[in-house]
């Protein structure tokens, strides 16, 4: 499988569209950093309004750790779209180009090929997150410095001592990777059914957007649905900034995401093994 994986990676990284995501993330992160650098104080004051009515907040609130948190909070719901761009193209794009049938007339197992392609999508996904971590965390720390991380949640404020934050980001990025791998798995599965990549990309985006809206809306019926939506569990990275970390809930979410990935992968392999290649 290693040679096929290498070929798939070579293909992915030979395409300009692959780099759109990296550029997009760079631009978005840089814009957020610039905005916060120029006008961060006002933004923070606005965000803390309800708190500053009764309290004086002292210290470097707008530090690299908070900037990273703001970036993740803003960006992580959009990254699935970038991941769908490549994962949704994995099979459907080849079907559209006609290269899928050329590939499959080669002495390569279908499941083997599928796994290699999936693995290549995952490598892309993880690289995207590593890139994001580099920019969002390390660059922010470089620009804004270290400090305690204060997070405003709807019903509480959590302040984490600065020497207690870094390892949490480690876990958060790990968890975010799991979420994004799940999105990749979904896009990849949809990609198997389609003969051009627009379909799976749009469908993945739509599902993620729809589920996110359902997760966000504060309507009792939707709240009942929440535990069943993967988007709810994708927010699990935030749990690592709670004190204490709700390990049980977060491992449950991780397990649910993992089950999704497995389900999508197995279903994908099952379908692909039987699929008639008509493209």
């Amino acid at each position: 499988m290693w040679p096929i994986l290498r070929i798939e990676l070579f293909k992915i990284f030979s395409r300009p569209r692959t780099y759109i995501s990296f550029v997009a993330i760079t631009v978005i992160v840089a814009l957020i950093q610039l905005a916060l650098y120029v006008d961060g104080k006002n933004y923070i004051q606005f965000g803390m309004q309800s708190l500053t009515q009764g309290f004086d907040i002292e210290g470097n609130v707008l530090n690299g750790y908070l900037v990273c948190f703001i970036i993740l909070q803003t960006l992580l719901i959009h990254v699935p779209l970038l991941i769908a761009l490549v994962a949704g193209d994995a099979i459907a794009g080849e079907a559209n180009m006609g290269t899928l049938r050329i590939l499959l007339t080669r002495p390569v197992g279908r499941v083997e090929l599928l796994l290699a392609k999936f693995a290549a999508s995952l490598v892309y996904t993880l690289l995207l997150l590593v890139w994001m971590a580099l920019l969002a965390l390390f660059l922010s720390l470089f620009i804004f410095g270290k400090g305690d991380l204060m997070i405003l949640k709807s019903e509480e404020v959590v302040v984490l001592a600065q020497n207690d934050v870094f390892w949490r980001y480690g876990w958060a990025f790990l968890f975010a990777s799991l979420s994004m791998v799940m999105v990749a798995a979904l896009a990849f599965l949809l990609s198997i059914f389609a003969d051009n990549s627009i379909g799976p990309i749009i469908t993945t985006m739509s599902i993620v957007i729809l589920f996110t809206i359902l997760t966000t809306l504060d309507i009792p019926f939707f709240q009942l649905l929440r535990p069943w939506l993967f988007t709810t569990h994708m927010l699990g990275w935030k749990a690592f900034f709670d004190d204490p970390i709700p390990w049980q809930a977060v491992s449950q979410s991780a397990a649910i995401l993992l089950l999704h990935i497995l389900f999508f992968a197995i279903l994908g392999a099952w379908v692909f093994k039987r699929k008639d290649i008509l493209s």
Binding site: Q53, I57, G59, P246, A249, S253
Partner: protein, 224 residues
Amino acid sequence: MLFLMGIGPVAAWSQDADKLLQQVKNKLALVKDYVAEGSMKTDIPFVKMADANVVVYFRQPDQFRVQRANGISILPKGGVQGSLHTILSNKSFTPVAAGNTNMDGKYLAVIKLLPVDEKSEIVLITLYVDEKTALVWHTSSTTRNNGTYETKLQYGKYASMGLPDQVQFIFNTTEFKLPKAMSVEYETGKTAKPATAAKDNKGRITISYKRYTVNKGIPNDIFK
């Protein structure tokens, strides 16, 4: 006669109260400034915050600052009245004695202080004082706008200077809410409030002092 009898003890008590307040003030006057190292425990219902090391600066008459090195501190508006100085210094009161009471195993004199300045934010201060040592163990301040707050003090090796080893500042907290849309939250399914959440909706900030450096001067820029 009846009138005299009625007024006599009050006057006597007032005199006692005056005297006691003066004793207290004299004791506080021993300290012109201090820098103290200690740890701060923040216990506000909706704030989760680890204990932190702090440096506390004070300078007469009422400059007071709690600084968390490189860190963030969340303190009630107007600053923590973490020192008696800031409560009593530079202000004129009409003291009224209000008898004695037992509190935390101590027999303490109760003095009510009415600000002379009618526009004062503070409406009433109650001091609970140990008459023998002139140390204040408990205060309660009623403000015009910010409700009532209390301080509880404990003394140890710096008692001779009137400096406490520990000050607990107790204040009311109003319900704190962020508009929900600002952040989508991860819900863990647990409905129980965090263990630190007090049932009485009061916040407590406790500073335990380890070391005082007294009357060595403080640079101005500490207080901005």
